[in-house]
Assembly symmetry: C2
């Protein structure tokens, strides 16, 4: 199973529905702003997880489509607000919404997409009890996303513990993966225990994915990631590489040197190379890869309860892909 191929297939499935719910109406500017990210594509990982989870528990994938759309809208709504809060001008080559449309429209486009997500969820053709379960997972995820982003803001420029780092990325990334997977499983008709196993799969997958992202941020190829490698160092982002390095750089002089490089916007390419060398020598790069691998193994083990199927194969392949990608 090639995860990338499956993701491409899912994109083709979901692109139409994603575009179908945001109708032309006034004011045009708000509609355009709210469409930009969902219409632009992307990996569509979260919708793919929704559909695969529904199929993997023996359910009808197509019944889960409204949730696949809703989760993508929620993901996009948080990107719009985060971009503004973080002051980012570009996202995947596009101008961010607040730069293109102004601050008020960006905040409103995020709010509108959030509302639209729940409008679409109301279209799910499932029992009231299952609908309430889906709502619980999704609303808890958004509540947690806000907590995670707040923690991330509060952590800026600080060195936090690995526990705090893991809790932050759990809230910022894993909870929406988990809502996608659990929601899909609920719609697919899974029992409580299976829903819980799939929820744990996605939680671990999200952690592995994010830890690998942090690895790419320092050791990736910027011509492929599209992100300037070293920016995490320049911004002083406290990734798992940094939390590890702080405890494993033995030479006090090297530690002082690393602290100087961290959070320094003026770091040159040479400085970044040096920071990478220090991280490598401290074993922090290997440690990050090892942690990501552990999370992915944990994720895959949670799927043992499922019968073999193409959707299950994808869920396994996606987990492997999360820590074996250039971008």
């Amino acid at each position: 199973m090639d995860a990338k191929q499956y993701l491409l297939k899912t994109s083709e499935e979901v692109d139409g529905p994603i575009k179908s719910y945001i109708k032309n109406e006034e004011p045009q500017k708000l509609i355009e702003a709210s469409r930009q990210y969902p219409y632009a594509g992307g990996k569509r990982m979260r919708p793919a997880i929704v559909l695969a989870a529904a199929g993997a528990v023996g359910g009808d994938r197509s019944k889960a489509m409204p949730l696949a759309v809703a989760i993508e809208y929620i993901h996009n709504f948080t990107l719009i607000h985060d971009d503004y809060m973080d002051g980012d001008d570009k996202r995947r080559g596009m101008t961010t919404i607040h730069v293109g449309y102004g601050m008020p429209t960006a905040i409103l486009a995020g709010d509108a997409l959030f509302a639209k997500a729940f409008q679409v969820i109301a279209e799910l053709d499932i029992s009231g009890d299952r609908l309430k379960d889906v709502l619980r997972y999704v609303t808890t995820a958004v509540w947690d996303l806000a907590r995670g982003q707040e923690m991330d803001t509060a952590n800026e420029g600080k060195i936090v513990s690995e526990d705090v780092y893991i809790e932050t990325i759990r809230l910022k990334t894993s909870v929406l993966f988990a809502a996608a997977a659990s929601g899909g499983a609920i719609i697919g008709g899974a029992d409580k225990k299976t829903v819980e196993a799939i929820n744990e799969y996605a939680m671990a997958l999200g952690l592995g994915f994010q830890i690998y992202d942090d690895y790419l941020g320092i050791a990736g190829d910027s011509s492929k990631t599209g992100k300037s490698v070293g920016n995490d160092i320049r911004k002083g982002k406290c990734t798992i590489l940094v939390t590890h390095a702080m405890e494993h750089i033995k030479d006090p002089q090297v530690l002082a040197e690393f602290k100087d490089l961290l959070g320094n916007q003026k770091d040159t390419k040479k400085d970044i190379d040096r920071a990478r060398e220090i991280l490598k020598e401290a074993g922090s790069i290997d440690y990050a890869l090892k942690c990501a691998r552990q999370k992915i193994d944990e994720a895959i083990s949670k799927l043992d309860c499922l019968e073999p199927s193409e959707d299950k194969d994808f869920m396994i392949a996606l987990a492997e892909y999360a820590i074996d990608r250039d971008v």
Copy 2:
């Protein structure tokens, strides 16, 4: 029936539940920011409408409590975001959230309250079909609120037509009143026709309420409203008084004078008095009062389909109160 008394009684009913859903957790700053407005009280008109509508159709008011809480959270989430967009420092004597906690926390507190609202809606003890109906009304309202705020921003400093003005306040104010009322009626077990009538009641009530608010903004007593009378003129807000005046000031010199006063931050108290005098002579103040009265009569007439009850009496009294208040 004294609407104010009934509102006070409702406040006592809903204050506990409103405080019960936002638990203590990390990060504390976000939790505190998201609590500030819901905990601060206010008229609690929207929750009162939810509960009254449930009771007025013969249902159990207490079953509608989660929706009453959710609608108040949604109202508060929009206030937090609007305050930031509008750059307002104060709300009812309180420091606004972005001033007290900073921009990122304010945006996140709004998002979090929005998520919490739907978490609470998932607690409603009603059938799946009714739950979906409630979700449709509420999500459409939030989508429309964003459209209304966007239109309001776009209208700033412009003279728009009365139609555009009415559409803007319908989206900014009426739709959430209408979601509160329709949602309450759905939970109370009303049939489709009754839900629709109650929806129309609340739509008209919202318009009457907002038009009267605009009247208070120019002719009210600032010691009671707590708002600086004349600020709408200084800001150049295109209320129904202004749209009327533009077409009914006959003397071109007076019209030019009025246009100069409109949107001039430096207007003195004397300037505001002059603007009020011009509006009065053009018949614009009387016209606003007449329009508000018409909307309220329309609202009340929609309730003819309901059996007599204390809750129905409140809904009528609330409509009368909307255009007979100092604040």
